[in-house]
């Protein structure tokens, strides 16, 4: 907690903070890039999950669909991490001290793992891919929800601001 506080104070006085808060249009446009990357994750996960459910792309094997779209998710996550760091740098007292932000990070790890699990082996039953697809969709929706909720959640008592 003290380390996180010191980090936030350091970030607030860093050149990165000065750079992203130097122009009023920069933070909204970084958010736009963040949203575009979320869209890349959403459509890629949707294609993988709908293939698993046997709804679309049924003319291609599941592993081909996963191999095509999982790298897009991973690439988009890199963009999301970079833009996320810039957004935190613009307002260090915000996300870091709200539980929902850390819940979001946990959900991202879980959602990525569950979505990637579609690519392992050829399950004998139809049930496993269906359950993975539903879990993946719910987890990614949870990520979006938690992300939006950072703006509404209360910060930890006595936290940096």
């Amino acid at each position: 907690m003290i380390a996180l506080h010191d980090f936030a104070v350091w970030l607030a006085h860093s050149p990165l903070n000065a750079a992203v808060t130097g122009h009023s249009w920069l933070v909204p446009e970084i958010q736009v890039v963040h949203i575009v990357a979320i869209a890349a994750v959403v459509v890629s996960a949707a294609l993988i999950n709908l293939r698993a459910l046997g709804v679309i792309e049924t003319d291609r094997p599941q592993r081909v669909v996963v191999r095509a779209w999982l790298p897009v998710i991973l690439g988009a996550l890199v963009v999301l991490a970079l833009t996320g760091v810039l957004l935190i740098a613009s307002e260090p007292g915000r996300a870091l001290f709200r539980t929902v932000f850390w819940v979001k990070l946990g959900l991202i790890v879980a959602a990525t793992a569950v979505t990637a699990a579609h690519g392992f082996g050829a399950p004998r039953s139809r049930l496993v891919p269906c359950l993975l697809a539903i879990a993946s969709a719910l987890l990614w929706m949870g990520v979006i929800f938690a992300g939006r909720w950072i703006a509404y959640a209360d910060g930890w008592p006595g936290a940096f601001s």
Binding site: P28, E29, Q31, V32, I35, V36, I38, A39, A40, V41, V42, V43, S44, A46, L50, I56, E57, M141, I144, F145, G147, R148, W149, A151, Y152
Partner: protein, 155 residues
């Protein structure tokens, strides 16, 4: 009935009162709006990038569009319903907001671009026409997202 009267009428509806009284309802609907809009943006951008010859090369354009259209419409329905609901929280504010008005206009233009594509561009199957349609669509949707984000900063 003027736009101002409409705004006043909307702001006295039970939905408007529900939204302004609740501390969490607006945020929940906003989160669902983000889910819908990212589905629209992602699926449309995929078609646009294909039209520009950048992704899913060698795959049939008509089949790709047919495959993605249910995703686009589902996302659009979710975004339109949640977006309309959010307006009830502050009708006067939205109706007079530059970015809100601009966003609606850009949505109409994006719709026109789709009509032009299906009527004139797609039947001819020319490479240039596809690229122009894809480029216009991508530019419009990125601006729509940008305007949407700016509403939150200016209202």
């Amino acid at each position: 009935m003027s736009l101002e009267d409409l705004a006043t009428t909307l702001s006295t509806t039970p939905l408007a009162i529900l939204l302004t009284d609740s501390t969490w309802l607006f945020g929940v609907i906003e989160a669902v709006h983000v889910m819908g809009l990212t589905l629209v943006l992602g699926s449309i951008a995929l078609v646009d990038l294909h039209l520009l010859g950048l992704v899913e090369r060698g795959r049939d354009t008509t089949a790709l569009i047919r495959r993605l259209l249910p995703l686009t419409w589902t996302g659009f329905a979710v975004a339109a319903i949640t977006g309309t609901t959010l307006v009830f929280a502050n009708p006067q504010g939205y109706f007079t907001n530059f970015f809100f008005r601009g966003k609606l206009l850009l949505l109409v233009l994006a719709g026109l671009n789709v009509v032009v594509f299906h009527r004139f561009v797609q039947p001819r199957a020319g490479r240039l026409g596809h690229r122009v349609s894809g480029g216009i669509s991508l530019a419009l949707w990125l601006t729509i997202v940008s305007f949407g984000r700016w509403i939150g900063f200016t209202i």
